[in-house]
Symmetry: C2
């Protein structure tokens, strides 16, 4: 979920100066429209790692809008009045009324993010409230949305390296030294655990009603512009969404969906400035990476041998393997799959080629046709395209509704969590090629007679939507690359390089899982 | 949640014979329409205590419809094929396709109901699957409904006494003896724990998308008629609900709401037969109960003294008390409240009179105005009408949408669970009077000058909707009378009797809570 936010998104000073005046005007205008309409409250949650500039962002946002109609809350350890009541009481009493904006840094997530580290708690003399379960949080947020609230959740992200740099800078500066205490260094020390916890909480609460927006905190200019644009766009979309004047009809969920769509579209543009194209997890890959034939042969033999051993080990009998291949047409999925199956015993694997659903499959819930092929213990299922079709082809081609593919992210995460809990190792590959490489391969296929069947008119049509597919793929990675089932983005312009990356990753994941399972 | 199902609902043989032919024809017709439309699958879950005739009901249902298009599944301990895959796999593979009906007895709830009794598990040699959490179940069912499924969940209920009687009968009969094993007797022995577990699981999974229908199993005729009518009505309503042909739009939730409404309306009629009016938790109260003045004075003094002591005990300092009063106009809420407050220190309690919401309150989520008055530790809040307004007056008068009050049941249960978890004792009274008694009191109020302000034109109007309010109240009790916050239905035609019942209940609940908290 943090892949995109770990890229070095930046906006240079000049672009920033050209963007900000209009953005501020738009934001202020949206705020006044919300205030005047008095139809819904705006609830903004700001969470993130230490030193990600949460306070600075909130201060700036408040300055950019009319501060009289915004209330910002920073909840620390509960006071005596709060402690005398149920934990949620203090959040309820500070909810903004319709027409107003409430910004909460420190909120009903705080204890969940701190929960695994009681010893790191900010206050050792007073016991913190017990963390809400993610199920409780989901129910609460669902209620807020059903009651008409516009709820936006931001997670500010920073790599460990960058966090350390900031903490040191702050410590060295006498004016900011007070902001860094032992707690911040503790969190830095335990960065990996903090990240894992954050990842789990975000994954479990990344619901259709209230998805997270993970924002890179690497560059403060990019950060504030991203947040301000999302907020402005969400308010606008919600104002425009048809709804009953009293907000009662929000229950149907339609305004929330329109909001999400608008915010996502805006996000795609966020750092499109004259000076720099928008970075995403795909266009930042180095597709020029390649392996020479000699080298390839040697490494292929090595990893195939290793994989053959791993799947024949006694430990694998208690586990299973599900491998997912996604990527543009002609990215080399088939070739990579054959390099895997070449090492396996035909009785122990199954390659599932996913095309349009059959009549039987259409009569069932979407995930049904993939559940059929979940590998039993000791077996391997390889999916040539997969359940991700819902958020890729079905989304882009309009084969399902907005609501359907938006809720699919959390349904897919649930599905993969169930597989993982049952001992199945889930490995997902996106084979990335550039548009030119695809064209070259299409042309080659047309030339070579035995490959001609592999290229159809539909393939040419899909090519026209290249950027739509790319945007959908980036969003897919953002929502479904989890600690339990991460995406591996494979630079696949060179087939040799791609196949070795796939085999190597597979061996590594499998080896780690079998070692952990012992 | 079991209050209504513990009444002795019955349908006599003659009425049954007059009902069944039409019901069977209607059911069969609805089944064929579903089959022909092929728009959605019907998933029926049958759960309940032992000896509640689950198998018999399913057999009869299957006979009444066309069995070729129904599949019934009884899941026991997973077999080897199932055990090799994630626990949910076996349910996925048996989901009925669109147009078909699947009846599951033994389903994704089974292990949840058994979970607290591993030693009672049906199979001691093989480990059962781990129980799904109720949050996982909710997510799975939400997905099913979003994917278009018509999901009906039945819980068959029987009192311990009746269950024991049936088990003995079955044991004595050589033909049925095999159906009663040590497991059944174990469950009977632990009836109270089984009931508590069932109550918790039902409460936590009683969602807006997929609410439970709790059915009395006391009389098999009543039971099958209730289930068949609900199923028939649900299929009809869902067929009629406007939806896109492919079922994609089910996500908006509208068909499901229409289905729930239709089923509830049908349920209200279920045992209205020529021979007997429908029993409900209110019309089965013995409103003739009364206490003489002398006796009243004595007992009033006794319980007021006790209550005074309890709220002044040191243990109460760590707890709090929330008392809810609901009931028709002129049921005696004010009088009962004064008998409580008379024993309290003015600094320690607050009476919250709930009328129409203020402008400030209207600008917030519905429950906000009640969260404001949640008592802090050591204090008492008494609510003269309460958050139940949503499912009573707002529902009956149409002040909120169908979706709003339907989701309110689980939101209210969440709210009360949060209070209970924070140590607050939640005590809820419904003061029940009959329509004649209300009329008498209205007339008295008109006569007595100092009470005249208490009766308005609106009170007379509300009276006209007596039966709507009664139906809403019964349904409210069904969905929100939980182990953690049960409803006490108070026979209130006699004010003395009502007040003593209230005080006595309050003392008992408080005493138990303080003893448990020590």
């Amino acid at each position: 979920m943090f892949e995109s936010a770990e890229l070095k998104h930046e906006i240079d000073k000049k672009s920033y100066q050209s963007i900000v005046p209009d953005l501020r005007a738009d934001l202020l205008e949206a705020q006044y429209r919300v205030l005047e309409a008095k139809r819904f409250p705006v609830i903004v949650l700001i969470n993130g790692f230490d030193a990600t500039g949460r306070g600075e962002t909130v201060n700036l946002l408040t300055t950019w809008m009319d501060p009289r109609h915004i209330v910002a809350y920073a909840f620390g350890t509960p006071n005596d009045e709060e402690r005398a009541r149920p934990p949620m009481w203090r959040f309820w009493r500070t909810l903004p009324p319709k027409g107003r904006i409430g910004i909460f840094f420190g909120n009903w997530y705080t204890e969940s993010f701190n929960a695994p580290f009681p010893e790191l708690s900010s206050n050792k003399t007073k016991k913190p409230d017990p963390a809400l379960t993610t199920a409780e949080i989901n129910r609460f947020e669902r209620m807020l949305v059903n009651e008409g609230a516009l709820l936006l959740k931001f997670w500010f992200h920073l790599s460990r390296k960058e966090q350390g740099k900031r903490l040191r800078e702050r410590t060295e500066n006498p004016q900011t030294r007070w902001r860094v205490g032992p707690e911040e260094w503790d969190h830095y020390e335990h960065y990996r655990e903090c990240r894992e916890t954050a990842e789990r909480v975000l994954r479990e609460t990344n619901t259709h009603e209230a998805p997270w927006m993970v924002v890179s905190a690497f560059d403060p200019r990019y950060q504030i512009v991203t947040v301000a644009r999302a907020l402005m766009q969400a308010m606008r979309a919600r104002l425009d969404a048809s709804m009953q004047p009293d907000g009662a009809n929000a229950a149907a969920g339609m305004p929330q969906e329109a909001v999400q769509e608008a915010v996502q579209e805006e996000a795609a543009k966020t750092s499109e400035t004259p000076s720099a194209p928008r970075l995403n997890v795909l266009n930042t890959l180095d597709l020029s990476q390649r392996i020479e034939k000699e080298d390839y042969r040697e490494r292929l033999a090595k990893y195939q041998g290793k994989l053959a051993q791993l799947v024949r080990s006694p430990e694998f009998g208690a586990r299973a393997l599900a491998v997912v291949f996604e990527g543009p047409d002609a990215a080399g999925k088939g070739g990579a799959i054959r390099r895997i199956t070449g090492t396996l015993d035909a009785r122990n694997y199954r390659v599932v080629s996913v095309a349009a659903p059959s009549e039987e499959e259409k009569a069932q819930p979407y995930l049904w046709r993939f559940w059929r092929h979940v590998p039993p213990r000791g077996k391997v299922s390889i999916f040539d395209r997969s359940w991700y079709g819902r958020v890729l082809v079905e989304r882009v081609e309009g084969f399902c509704t907005l609501a359907d593919w938006q809720r699919a992210y959390s349904e897919i995460n649930d599905f993969e969590a169930q597989m993982t809990n049952a001992g199945i190792v889930v490995v997902k590959f996106w084979l990335a090629i550039c548009a030119d490489e695809q064209l070259k391969r299409f042309r080659e296929r047309e030339q070579e007679r035995f490959k001609r069947f592999k290229i159809t008119a539909e393939d040419w049509r899909n090519r026209e939507k290249w950027s739509d597919y790319e945007a959908a793929a980036c969003e897919m990675v953002e929502h479904t690359s989890t600690d339990i089932a991460p995406w591996t983005l494979v630079e696949a312009n060179d087939k040799y390089f791609a196949r070795i990356t796939v085999l190597k990753t597979l061996c590594k994941r499998l080896e780690a899982a079998l070692a952990a399972g012992k």
